[in-house]
Symmetry: C2
Subunit: 150 residues, 2 copies
């Protein structure tokens, strides 16, 4: 993968790892501008903040501040896991043209919806992302099921 | 409309009005369980919290605490305005079977996506909701355009 995608997924993975260390669901995300700037980063905060909506991508946007779509439409969104319908919908709202994910074996969200709106989706199949999720789900299946609405 | 929908839209409208008084975008939402309990309520916090993601519906979910889908799948989501793609995606994630909106003339979000997933959508065409948005957009067109990703 190109340098920037490697960097983006590395940051997303570090966020996932940080979430895991906090006892949370290990999914991380970051937002990188086409000029290389890291605009935002974050991880799932369901456990840490008792939050239904702070998935990794939403946390990342929250941590980015109040960005206009004129900026986000020049960004790539990285996530260690395929975004759920809410996070997919946020990418569409913010006109993000490109989404790079670590894996979609653990969960597949709204990929068809991204495709329908011509958002480029790249799955880099990063085993570290899947291994971390496998570990968490084995330890806390009930928290994971809650997060994906099961 | 049935009593509960009248009550739900009244609460959502009061939230929108509260947002307006705070100088924010006047869109409100609430979540009501089929047993009549008001599970959550909130309004758009873009201006108040410099937030990209705290639309009325997301605020409402955040204020509701960490609810499982076993509860949200028995709720109706009320919003003074047709939900954007992010908020539509959150309703789908939380398996909400019924969405009641005040209007969709100011903006229409992911209604087709709700229909595709058999979520019941009811537009009660509440003029108070539209009048409040008209007033706000006339006063702050740039804030409104930012909120819908223009």
């Amino acid at each position: 993968m190109p340098f920037d995608d490697k960097k983006g997924m590395q940051i997303a993975y570090e966020e996932a790892l940080e979430g895991y260390k906090q006892g949370g669901i290990p999914i991380g995300a970051c937002l990188i501008h086409e000029d290389g700037r890291v605009v935002g980063r974050g991880h799932n905060m369901r456990v840490q903040k008792d939050s239904m909506t702070l998935h990794a991508e939403i946390s990342c946007f929250e941590n980015s501040g109040r960005l206009p779509a004129s900026l986000t439409k020049k960004c790539t969104l990285y996530s260690t896991l395929s975004p759920c319908t809410m996070c997919t919908g946020s990418a569409l709202l913010f006109k993000i043209p490109r989404v790079v994910i670590g894996e979609n074996e653990t969960y597949m969200g709204g990929e068809d919806w991204l495709a329908k709106h011509d958002v480029e989706l790249i799955n880099v199949k990063d085993n570290r992302c899947k291994d971390l999720m496998d570990k968490f789900i084995k330890e806390h299946p009930e928290i994971w099921n809650e997060d994906i609405g099961e």
